[in-house]
Amino acid sequence: MPTLTIDGHTVHADHGQFLLAACRSAGIQIPTLCDHPAVEPYGGCRLCVVDVTRPEWNGWCKMVVACLFPVEDGIVVHTASTRVIEVRKVVLDLLLARCPDTPLVRDLAARHGILATSYVRNQQPTDCILCGLCTRICDRMGMSAIGSVDRGAGREIATPFREPPAACIGCLACAEICPTGFIRYESGTARRKIWDKDFDMLRCPRCGRSHITVAQADFFAGRGGVPRSYFEICDVCKRKDLAVAATRLACATETPAR
């Protein structure tokens, strides 16, 4: 079990664990914007930078992102050294210039003492921080319906050819994981619309509530040997079914049949 020192505390970590998890398990808070348990670490926001050193390095430190750095035995980690804080401030200052009206960015920047950006404010403010969570969750779902297009300052999240994405099943994973609410959608009883693509909703045959798109049910049907009917009944009704079954079982124990 690798043992490391984080901000003076001795921490026992698991093999293959990333530094960010080890820090958090030790109760040390590190800000992140692109990290999420549902997807692979990405290393894009650069907020989780920390200094890593070893006693034999004579004071020399290397700066790494905690979300991707695998723990090593004997390392000494500084999560709030002067230069770590400075890099975080530069990153937040830059993000604030990009997203000056986004509450998440404003709050995080304010907590680091930045109330207004020292750079040029974005002429077309956006809520997209390009954390890549939406595209990664979409990949993870097996769809890859959206991606990042263009590069450098022109980079943005978009659908292929900026058309309604053929592969999208309207699952809303992208919108739900988006930390700033940038990805918009409309969802009603009969229709759902996201990325300019319309979806028919599937009504639960028990309660009549729309809970999933037809495309979602079609996609999931047959995967892992689960029949389509499983997805047709909504979660609430499924729980009711379970309750009914449990009651029946409970009654059965109380009064044995015959």
Binding site: G43, G44, C45, R46, V49, M63, V64, V65, L68, F69, P70, R83, E86, V87, V90, V91, L94, L95, A97, R98, S118, Y119, V120, L130, G132, G147, S148, D150, R151, G152, A153, G154, R155
Partner: protein, 633 residues
Amino acid sequence: MRIESRQQFDTAVAAARDTRLSKGREVWVCCGTGCLANGSKAVAQAFDDRIREDGLQASLGLYHKTTGCHGFCERGPLVVIQPEGLLYTRVRVSDVPEILDRTVRNGEVIPRLLYKDPATRQSYAKYDEIPFYKHQIRVSMRNIGRIDPEDLDDALAHGAYAGLAKALFQMTPDQVIAEIEASGLRGRGGAGFVTARKWKACRKARGDRKFVLCNGDEGDPGAFKDRSIMEGDPHGVLEGMIIGAYAIGAHEGYLYVRDEYPLAVVNVQKAIEAARERGLLGTNILGTGFAFDLRISRGGGAFVCGESSALMRSIEGRTGEPRAKYVHASDKGLFDLPTNLNNVETWADVGAIIVNGGAWFAGWGTERSKGTKAFSLVGKVKNTGLIELPMGTTLRHILYDIGGGMLKDRPFKAVQTGGPSGGCLPADKLDLPVDYEILSENGSMMGSGGMIVMDDRTCMVDVARYFLKFLSEESCGKCVPCREGLKQMLLIFDDIVSGRGKTGDVERIERLCQGMQLGSLCELGKSAPNPVLSTLRYFRAEYEAHVGRKACPAGMCRDLTAYEIVQESCTGCHQCPKVCPTEAISGGAKMKHVIDQAKCISCGACFDVCPEDCIRFFPRAEAKEAAHANADH
């Protein structure tokens, strides 16, 4: 026919020498990209036609071929006549009959076609005597310009694959690595990582499936060494890769070539097919049982794909974006399998090192940088082109002895080395020996071996801005410091060069540079501040002049510069009005000329054309002040 034993290899080489090394005369026409652009294809065709018509091949034992780049692209199309080693420059189709008649038949030299040193006006007949070539020592470029890149037999006749034969028949993989270690070879892509250490790590890595990759995604502005190597001697690269694969224990490889190098793609593909056909690539190489095959992966032109992890993602068919490299590629690279990636030039060195021994290669260079290094010498020097020199050669020697000195003999200002990740070195650094450490210590880097020479008419703020612009377009945009940092830095530079610079801009730039160096994901972002920091280090006064006085000392930033004609020295030669794009210059022939400031766009065309040096530039701010003063009167 497949070569399946040592004996068959020796026979094949002897046969190739018989047919390809003529006892009589040879005519080599350079068909590298530079010469092709100057029309060498037609010249080669003309030789072909004439030789066939006149039956010269039979009567004189004449052998002629097209070769890769000789490096002296500026003087193309180039034609070399052997065995004398005559070099004819700027050869046109109309010169072909004369060359055949006078030089090939009668051994006469045609003075008109010889290279003339612009400084001394001296003509040189022999290739090896020309200063541009005389000082060079070519290892990675040993066969470029000497072989027909499309002809495997010609390559064999000139020693290609001799290193491979030696490695496979006489050496164990560990011995190969030991030889590379003894040579002191370091990565020629720029970072200078010790090649043998990389190979060892990959050899030790667990797994049966390993990859050997070649990085041919050279994209730095002004660099073209890898291009010339791939175009002119693809077999040298293949040989190195096969030897590397043997040493590491890999059986698959990819050659990542950017698609903007169409000739390189074609020549490498042909070389791969020819090598496969002869049993130099594929299963059972040279009958030894060793198997290795490789494919070309064409890059879509993203500069960042030259970064190792982005390159691997690109080969995998994903978006070419870097990822964190806390786990080395030697353990988890392409498809998360052990991978060894080297630059084109590094691979091209390998074959020669195996043939001649590591000590031979380590005989050149400095304490920590061994061997020779290819450079693309461009910019304001008389002789531009591709050169290869021992490590430790001074910048002065490169610029003045090989480059022939400054163009138009203007004063030297700086030399930019290492591409967008490198930096600018001023005149007092000219005597520095070029090696990895010394360049880095002085704020620049070896990089891809690009050298851009700049004269006094170069604004260093504008140079830094140029590289920032290049990088902001080439950043992948994955991480915040690089994407947003470059964008904001460029905005600050735009302000400075257009006269909107504010006090504190330089300090803001410095803070941003530090944030990017420490915080960026990959080397593109980490090294992006180098052109800025090195110009700040050596030319800080220029920044201060731009911000404080709104003046560009080099007179290159148009928004800050005004031009006027010094009336006392104007001879009325009337050349400047002819080049002025806005007709801002008045005055007839033999009369004093005047620039109308309202019309002038400060392009500097008049300044460059004036034979009497009587055009002066000065800060536009002064012109405005003068106008105000006049108005107040």
